[in-house]
């Protein structure tokens, strides 16, 4: 549905987006994740036709954004970052304005209005002035305006920033419901947000895509190491040192002894699980394992690693 080809944007000397390419299909929620200034908003602005790419192109339903911006904008609902609104307007008038521009009038407007008002929970504020609404309501007003024409594609730039935890959960649920019938592309710099909401994560760093996949895939593909914490009784120092020779997939990170208890910390690659071997080795050496705890790397570590200054880790 959306195809991005070698999309590049330079602001003067600053290269905000560097030749990125990806494709997005129908009815899925895609999270665009990156640190502040990574190029998320710039990319979204190019997809919505607000900015023109320096080079490369965006295709929506095989139409390119440069020559067919109006047609593409008809298909898209867009909630810009910081959710700018016309404060002096009534909520009803604001939604009516969007509907007017989208050519939705009369009976059709009443139906669309009813739908977005109930979807976004705006029942109490329809006849209020926008500037008098709370931040959570404002966010939902922006969202309601962006989907009044029931777009096939919804692009949300940081839709939950500045909301309280309850409001975040509400918006999250709403986005999940919308994702069943629409393509939702949302950006965020908050990992938990993305992880809880989306089907697919695209991580962008310094204007380049550094990872792309479901959160499970990203964890699996990451080159980082998992940790295994052991606490042993009856162990001998030399045997512990020799463990590496018997089980090649592990690396001993640290080893301490405290009142006959040995605390050992191991590292192992994602591709293997050495716990069985460790257990067998312990039985052979007559160690007593009183603790074995494996901590898998989570998305947060991966995100932090990928978006550290200097780019992807080289481990």
């Amino acid at each position: 549905m959306i195809k991005i080809e070698n999309l590049t944007k330079h602001y003067g000397d600053v290269k905000a987006v560097k030749s990125i390419s990806f494709e997005l299909e129908d009815s899925q929620i895609v999270g665009f994740l990156g640190a502040n200034g990574a190029g998320k908003s710039t990319t979204l602005k190019m997809i919505t036709g607000y900015l023109t790419p320096t080079s490369g192109n965006v295709f929506v339903d095989n139409k390119n954004i440069i020559d067919h911006s109006i047609e593409i904008q008809k298909m898209i609902g867009y909630l810009p970052e910081l959710n700018p609104l016309y404060g002096e307007m009534k909520v009803f008038d604001y939604l009516k304005f969007h509907a007017d521009v989208r050519g939705i009038q009369g009976h059709k407007f009443n139906k669309s209005l009813e739908k977005v008002v109930s979807q976004c929970g705006l029942q109490g504020v329809v006849h209020k002035t926008v500037s008098n609404c709370s931040k959570g309501y404002k966010q939902r007003i922006g969202l309601a305006a962006s989907m009044i024409h029931d777009p096939k594609i919804l692009i949300l730039d940081e839709p939950v920033t500045g909301l309280d935890p309850n409001q975040i959960v509400e918006i999250r649920q709403l986005i999940k419901r919308l994702g069943k019938e629409k393509l939702v592309l949302m950006s965020s710099h908050i990992l938990q947000e993305i992880q809880a909401t989306v089907d697919r994560i695209v991580i962008i760093h310094n204007g380049e895509i550094v990872a792309d996949g479901t959160s499970d895939e990203l964890i699996k593909d990451s080159k980082g190491l998992n940790q295994l914490e052991l606490e042993l009784l009856n162990a001998k120092k030399d045997d512990i040192k020799n463990m590496k020779a018997n089980i090649p997939s592990i690396k001993i990170k640290s080893q301490t002894e405290n009142e006959k208890r040995h605390q050992v910390s191991l590292e192992y690659a994602n591709t293997s699980d050495p716990r069985k071997d460790v257990f067998n080795y312990a039985v052979e050496k007559k160690w007593i394992i009183i603790k074995m705890n494996s901590t898998k790397r989570n998305l947060e570590d991966i995100f932090r690693n990928l978006t550290k200054q200097g780019g992807p880790e080289d481990a």
């Binding site: 607000y50 900015l51 109006i70 904008q73 810009p80 700018p84 307007m89 304005f97 007017d100």
Partner: protein
């Protein structure tokens, strides 16, 4: 077309939903009323020339003030991003906003029609045609100045700057006629043709010449075109 109407409606309702429009209307009516009635009974002449002389001067400040926020405010609060990503051509945004500003100015111009009734009540041998063309001229000048005001508003996100730039450009067109002495004779004709006052005085005299209409039309067209280009330029920033 429905896009221009949607923008127009939004702008007009935002004028009238805040005290802005009413303040403008009252000030405009008061200032013009004061200067008109001040000399009307003194001169004892059955015409509205005093009014038609003062309105263009009030326009100098009034029109840039009305139009200063039309685009700059959208840039300031960020809604420019919403309006630019809706399926509306930049040209339609500019036209809708321009027409809304012009509407407010024409409405305020209408508030001076009360003086026409004063004239009918007390005057003798009134030249109704001259009154009509006088108003037509003022409406056309309003059209030019509003297009300049919208253009100034598109250049910045600061309303005060838009106001000052608007006055500066309007002043150039307003003063050109008065600077003819300082211009080489070979250029005098061009400078005179560029000045709004020259065309306004032609029309006010009761002569509606196509040359004057073409002048007003092309200046309005030029500034609206430039405004559209300024709005489009954000894409290439």
């Amino acid at each position: 077309m429905h896009n221009i109407r949607a923008i127009y409606k939004k702008e007009l309702s935002s004028f009238f939903s805040s005290p802005m429009a009413y303040i403008f209307l009252v000030i405009f009516a008061l200032v013009n009323g004061y200067f008109f009635t001040n000399t009307f009974f003194l001169y004892n002449q059955s015409d509205m020339r005093a009014l038609f002389g003062i309105v263009p001067m009030v326009y100098l400040f009034f029109i840039p003030a009305v139009s200063m926020g039309l685009i700059s405010r959208e840039k300031g609060i960020g809604t420019i991003e919403i309006i630019s990503t809706l399926p509306i051509k930049e040209r339609d945004i500019v036209l809708g906003k321009y027409l809304a500003g012009l509407t407010l100015i024409i409405i305020s111009l209408f508030s001076t029609v009360i003086h026409y009734f004063t004239l009918i009540k007390f005057g003798t041998t009134i030249d109704h045609g001259a009154v009509f063309t006088g108003y037509l001229g003022l409406a056309l000048v309003a059209g030019v100045y509003t297009s300049i005001g919208v253009f100034a508003s598109s250049l910045t996100e600061n309303q005060v700057i838009a106001f000052i730039v608007g006055i500066a450009i309007v002043l150039v067109f307003f003063l050109m006629d008065k600077l003819l002495y300082f211009v080489p004779a070979s250029l005098a004709g061009i400078v005179q043709y560029m000045s709004t006052e020259f065309h306004l005085s032609n029309i006010s005299r009761g002569v509606i010449d196509t040359r004057n209409l073409i002048y007003f039309g092309s200046i309005i067209g030029f500034f609206l075109f430039m405004t559209t280009r300024v709005l489009e330029s954000r894409k290439w920033s």
